[in-house]
């Protein structure tokens, strides 16, 4: 987000270098493997194709990744409850609307209720992490286990279906618009977040608190409040993802909405070149990370890999990426590079 003076540093030292390379790699594999991967067609006035599918499917993950990025940056920990919170928010929305031919409450009210639910969950997490000083993973473990249970209570352990057709707009297409709605939602959220972080000092505050909580307090920042706020925001992001998800299927299945998305979201943050120890972060890195994960998933689908087997490949990718970021490995590279350069120096000398 800074003005990059490209000429001073070797390009691989930029935080966005690795995520972009990863994404490109995935796309190149596709180009070879599935030649029609990049083909986009128009059917019934909407765009179709793998690329559109990736954009569509990754939207929810992008939104989660945005929230997760801030949580990681400010507290150096992860919010593992986002998947469960998504399910809970979706359940609240649909339970409010009801399963009749018409809505029980106005649509906008149900959306607000879901968002409030998400933020309430974020409040619980944030309070435990910032004011009670519980490690983020443990604090969010509570809602991770309880969230789906509460969602089941909300839905009465049934899979509820919503009838009015408009309900599906958020998760699919709005008639007459060729691009999927989630794409716009995600783009809007990323844009707003970016504006807020870049045009106000909040981005700097979050990093500052994440890097050194005590020092930040002494320069006058309310470290606790800032951490708290990121969790509430993350809860809201989870709720939005949940809304998209239930709209896509026009139903709520509390067991499966957002299942394992917390892991994908954390992964997106890590692939985006962000340290999970907090501090410096790149919002766009996480966005690219989220898209990369979805691209990888879609690619594997295109290669006829079963949905259940996909985690195996994801795991391999993760290990490679985080190993490359490990300080120990970086040191190895440096020594190897050092050796090579001294050798080349010697060769130059000998040549002279």
């Amino acid at each position: 987000m800074k003005n990059l003076n490209i000429f001073k540093k070797p390009i691989y030292q930029y935080s966005l270098f690795l995520p972009i390379v990863c994404l490109l790699l995935v796309l190149i594999v596709n180009l070879i493997q599935t030649p029609n991967f990049f083909k986009i067609t128009v059917q019934n006035g909407v765009l179709y194709g793998f690329i559109i599918d990736i954009l569509n499917r990754s939207s929810g993950l992008v939104i989660l990744a945005v929230g997760m990025t801030l949580v990681v940056a400010s507290s150096g920990g992860t919010d593992i409850s986002v998947g469960a919170v998504s399910a809970l928010a979706g359940a609240v929305c649909i339970a409010a609307l009801g399963t009749g031919a018409t809505y029980n409450v106005p649509y906008i009210v149900s959306i607000l209720l879901a968002l409030i639910m998400g933020m309430a969950c974020g409040t619980v997490n944030g309070y435990l992490v910032s004011y009670m000083k519980v490690q983020p993973m443990v604090a969010t473990l509570i809602l991770f286990t309880a969230g789906r249970g509460i969602a089941q209570l909300v839905t009465g352990s049934f899979i509820l279906y919503v009838k009015p057709e408009q309900f599906g707009y958020l998760g699919n297409f709005i008639p007459g618009v060729p691009l999927p709605t989630p794409f716009f939602v995600a783009a809007f959220l990323v844009f707003i977040t970016w504006i807020v972080l870049d045009k106000t000092p909040l981005g700097m505050y979050i990093q500052s608190v994440g890097i050194n909580r005590d020092a930040s307090r002494l320069v006058g920042l309310n470290s606790k409040l800032i951490i708290f706020f990121t969790y509430v925001f993350c809860g809201m992001c989870a709720a939005i993802t949940g809304l998209i998800s239930v709209s896509r299927t026009m139903s709520i299945d509390a067991n499966n909405v957002g299942l394992y998305t917390e892991l994908d979201a954390i992964l997106a943050v890590a692939i985006g070149g962000n340290s999970l120890r907090g501090g410096k972060f790149s919002l766009f890195g996480s966005v690219i990370g989220a898209i990369t994960i979805q691209a990888l998933t879609t690619t594997l689908y295109a290669m006829q890999v079963s949905a259940d087997q996909i985690p195996l490949y994801k795991a391999v990718v993760v290990i490679i990426i985080v190993s490359l970021q490990s300080p120990v490995v970086l040191k190895w590279f440096k020594t190897i590079k050092g050796k090579l350069s001294t050798r080349s120096h010697q060769m130059v000398k000998e040549a002279k």
Binding site: P201, Y205, I211, N212, S216, R217, V219, G220, L221, K280
Partner: protein, 507 residues
């Protein structure tokens, strides 16, 4: 006295990024001697010790240890320990969650039938601590005990393990007089046994009480090795300080006398301010142009007093007035808004925000003070940062360099810049010169005096009394978390301070 050399270090050279930490330093330790390693902060004492114990690598030179016919290199503290060199550090390096006995024996537990023999371990632990006159339940976890006891346990462990060389790196800072006495008794006993002891301390009395030899370092250079009787106190101080004594002599001259202050010039007034368990209630009035020193031993509550005024520690009672108006400080931001600034003692933990750039570190406090949400103009930001980089001569590749890549002294200047940028009326500087080179030290001292001349007030805390003698017009003396006295102008002499700290003086 035995003169067999058990440890010799020759031409040890070590560089940190851009700074020469040790320049061809020699050091010799003989069997049965207690050898003081002296020097100001940043002289290279700890680096030399770290090189010896393998905590840091060195570039040039060699280390020889008795019993090895080749130069040794320790790659880690374990290796050093295996060779018979054990160390006690300033901070307690034990595990708080383990029992006292375990902390003494971990890694070398007594065994019976292949399993740890807790009974023997506990009774042997009690015996060891008996020598130190510590009678505690060794089965309780370490974190049940005060820092002083923890430090004694760390010493006991090192003593029990060391076979050749024992390094004590400022072990006495958290000990009281009686405990120090006990430690010295043990040290003398070990000396009899033929151990070599390297002793690092800030307290000159202790050096003269127990040491046989002194090696003085300054600025990474060896100044010399002396027998204790050949190096009187004053000369030692001169050796440690070098020529900056002369540079600083005249700093204070133009300062006006301060005892009769105009009531209008009062900036801050504290009445009965206290923080539970940190500092007992104290009164303090600060006037324009004041440079107030806080003296007292480490742990006497001098940092805590400053922190309480700033709201860095919780204020439990008392009141604070700024310009005669009551002020309640619940968080540092309130103090900042009231015109205060606070440079904390621990630069790494509480000062720098390491991954942020130099510029961000400089403007951060101003940004927070001015507006929580409205970003400072980008141009202004750059200008502010550049201005202070120039004024304080901060050596950095660019404004956008992460501050962690700078040397310690430059990091300190960055934090100083952060606070100066606020143009505060009242600055609290807690150890602003620790661990930085002599040149920068002098600059900072000068800056303090200049700021006072401009009508600002400063609280200056330093463990080097000389530094405060040179700059302060008033000195608060602290002991046991309590302010026990104030010295004004001419009364501020090393002797007066010492007697006040020791408890015999006027209060």
């Amino acid at each position: 006295m035995a003169t067999k050399e058990i440890l010799t270090m020759r031409h040890i050279t070590k560089n940190f990024i851009g700074v020469r930490a040790l320049n061809s330093v020699d050091f010799t330790l003989r069997a049965g001697e207690i050898h003081a390693l002296m020097g100001e902060n940043g002289a290279g004492k700890s680096t030399l010790i770290k090189v010896l114990t393998g905590a840091e690598e060195f570039e040039k030179g060699e280390i020889r240890l008795e019993g090895f016919d080749h130069p040794i290199i320790n790659r880690s503290p374990e290796e050093a320990q295996d060779k018979g060199i054990s160390t006690v550090y300033q901070e307690v390096n034990l595990c708080p969650n383990l029992s006292v006995a375990e902390n003494l024996f971990i890694g070398r537990e007594p065994k019976k039938f292949g399993k740890i023999d807790w009974k023997t371990m506990n009774s042997r632990a009690e015996e060891i601590l008996h020598d130190f006159d510590i009678h505690i339940d060794v089965t309780l976890t370490l974190d049940n005990f005060s820092v002083a006891i923890q430090q004694m346990i760390a010493i006991a462990r090192a003593v029990d393990m060391s076979s050749k060389v024992l390094i004590l790196d400022e072990p006495t800072s958290s000990l009281d007089e009686q405990e120090v006495g006990k430690l010295f008794q043990i040290m003398r006993m070990l000396k009899e046994r033929g151990l070599g002891i390297i002793f690092i301390t800030h307290f000159l009395e202790q050096v003269y009480e127990i040491c046989d030899r002194i090696t003085v370092l300054r600025n990474g250079e060896l100044i010399g090795e002396y027998k204790i009787e050949n190096l009187p106190r004053l000369k030692l101080v001169a050796c440690m300080m070098g020529k900056d004594i002369d540079i600083l002599e005249d700093i204070k001259e133009e300062q006006s006398s301060s005892k009769e202050k105009d009531e209008d010039e009062i900036i801050l007034e504290a009445k009965g301010l206290a923080s539970l368990g940190k500092v007992k209630p104290f009164d303090l009035s600060v006037y324009k142009g004041d440079v107030i020193g806080l003296s007292g031993l480490l742990g006497s509550g001098r940092s805590e007093l400053a922190r309480t005024i700033y709201g860095a520690d919780r204020v439990d009672s008392g009141e604070l007035k700024i310009h005669k108006k009551n002020l309640s400080i619940s968080a540092p931001i309130d103090a900042i808004k009231a015109g205060m600034a606070f440079l904390p003692e621990d630069r790494k933990e509480e000062g720098i925000i390491e991954d942020l750039s130099v510029q961000e570190n400089i403007i951060l406090a101003l940004q927070v003070k001015q507006s929580m949400f409205k970003l400072l103009n980008k141009k202004d930001q750059e200008e502010f940062a550049q201005r202070y980089i120039d004024i304080l001569d901060i050596k950095t590749p660019s404004k956008d360099t992460p501050v962690k890549q700078l040397s310690g002294g430059n990091q300190q200047k960055v934090i100083l810049a952060r606070w100066l940028l606020l143009n505060p009326e009242f600055l609290i500087l807690d150890e602003p010169t620790r661990g930085i080179d002599v040149g920068t030290k002098t600059e900072i001292q000068r800056l303090i005096v200049d700021l006072a001349r401009e009508g600002k007030a400063i609280i200056f805390i330093s463990s080097e009394i000389e530094e405060m003698l040179r700059t302060c017009n008033r000195m608060l003396v602290m002991r046991d978390s309590e302010k026990i006295g104030e010295l004004w102008d001419d009364e501020i002499t090393q002797d007066n301070i010492m007697t006040a700290i020791a408890g015999g003086g006027r209060a």
